[in-house]
Symmetry: C2
Subunit: 327 residues, 2 copies
């Protein structure tokens, strides 16, 4: 298994390592998986190709990394102002999303499964305060995928750097801001030692799905019981990694605020409005990219629209009521 | 496997049936499970005892059903005004919750695992409008567990009836209101044909966890690979059932409103305030019930309190921003 992150990286790396352990344990050792971190076997951004060619049997990565070779993959990584993690998992497992994902990767000889989620991310660490849209003009920020393109449309200068380079780039001033993941990961990278302002919400990745990529021939060679085991292991990992983030982010946030004096701020409304408008354009352009992309977009949008009135009276209403009562 | 619901019951029954199928598929048939609905082998409310005695090897049920024999079980079913499903899963899998659950059931010869969640439920179907706290006085409502006790404290008259009896009881006027699950299940039971007002949010069950109960000797007899398979199957089921509810509730809600002219209403604020206050009392009394109960309560409360500031700037902030931007 080749990963797009270091093996000991909290959440992404540790979660993927547990995926491998689960498959071994459930198969009684009939499948053994050697886990390689980013760069150990192949670089982070070549995991897709390595699985496609069969250099490795399995990969763990994020779909938006394949943007340049496979634009449609972006629907399955993170969509700016798109579905939350409850919604996107329901779409993937019970709304036709996973079937579309597998159709998208099929010509590349890869069988994908959702295998982890960070939940909504943070908006990022910024060296300077953001008070208006003007403060985004010319800002150099590490922000990949569709989010990066949206950021570019409102005047920013997006960059995509692998995780390992973020701290130095931010500290030296090569970039002004970084959106990486959330408190659990950002604290581990020490981003707070290079920037003081921590913005929310993570409009760019409201539910970042991670993926297990399986080489199609390796998959076809498995008997039915091992197929069931591998699939189940990805599903367990999908839930477990989210739970790890939910359980570890709060304490990391507390430390960032109390020990490191980080200023946590909401993005100003006019900034969010401009980002939202630009996101609509970017998403519409992606949908127009191909017949398949249009089909995925319709499925995604219709599901999100169907869910909206229900979320409003269920999870969202409960969160609101509980907050107002405990105030 | 004995279930506390009919085998074909949407979500609860169909989800539990898939749990059995997953174990069979992953084990290559080394474990075969015969699935019995409520009343087929043992009545719904005797599943716990049947697993405890070893009459069946596995059960699928909800922890709050065991309230009278094991008050501590209630922490693992649903806690009024307690944690949401994101929060409770993080507590169970990464916050020590599952270990406490297993400690609680251990003297009863049962190994429990979370195995499904409905997400936040609806507040219930009511024959008449609720405009003030007065309208709750003397109201006869099907509402089990801690929620029922809270309802009693504010003047209501709670009843616990198995699912199969709800429609008739509501239609004949034996009861005035029913909280069962949410749109997907409530529509299937036809509750809308007996009552017109549908209230939210489901303060009584903000995240109802379902459980797989495994007889301790049956569990101990499994080799490690089958233990790993059974555990993973419960974890997959835990996520999958939630996704099924998230995917099916919205369309059911739409039908209730558009085809059946159901009136969807928020509970009035003074009613929620009174319920919240009564819930604090009921929860404190449960915590004082035993040393173990106090320990579970501290773990539950500390986890919820740690998560609150993070949820506010993450999932909840995103839901709020997205709603205001799309308005």
């Amino acid at each position: 298994m080749a990963m797009a992150w270091p093996t000991d990286f909290p959440g992404l790396g540790t979660g993927a390592a547990r995926l491998a352990q689960r498959i071994e344990a459930m198969s009684g050792g009939r499948i053994r998986i050697r886990v390689f971190g980013a760069g150990e076997l192949v670089p982070a951004y070549e995991v897709f190709d390595a699985v496609s060619r069969g250099t490795v049997d399995i990969g763990h990565s994020a779909a938006y990394y394949w943007r340049s070779k496979l634009p449609e993959a972006q629907w399955f990584g993170a969509v700016p102002f798109g579905m939350s993690v409850h919604e996107v998992n329901a779409w993937l497992y019970h709304g036709g999303g996973l079937e579309l994902w597998q159709e998208t990767y099929q010509p590349h000889n890869i069988v994908p499964f959702p295998a982890g989620n960070t939940g909504v991310q943070m908006g990022g660490f910024f060296k300077n305060e953001i008070n208006s849209l003007e403060d985004f003009r010319g800002l150099r920020m590490r922000i990949p995928g569709l989010g990066g393109e949206v950021f570019r449309r409102i005047g920013g200068s997006p960059a995509n750097l692998p995780g390992g380079e973020l701290f130095t780039a931010l500290q030296t001033g090569a970039i002004d801001a970084v959106e990486w993941v959330g408190p659990y990961n950002d604290l581990a990278f020490g981003l707070h030692r290079a920037a003081r302002f921590y913005y929310y919400p993570g409009w760019q990745e409201p539910a970042a799905s991670l993926e297990a990529l399986i080489n199609a021939e390796a998959w076809a060679s498995l008997p039915d019981d091992l197929k069931a085991i591998v699939r189940a292991a990805t599903e367990v990992t999908n839930q477990d990694m989210l739970c790890e983030y939910m359980a570890r982010n709060p304490a990391a946030l507390k430390r960032l605020i109390e020990e490191h004096n980080i200023q946590v701020r909401p993005f100003p409304e006019p900034v969010l409005e401009a980002l939202h408008q630009a996101a609509d354009e970017v998403v519409a352009e992606l949908a127009a990219n191909s017949e398949l992309s249009g089909r995925i977009h319709r499925s995604y949008r219709e599901f999100q629209q169907l869910l909206a009135p229900y979320m409003e009276i269920s999870e969202d209403a409960y969160a609101k009521v509980r907050k107002s009562l405990s105030a």
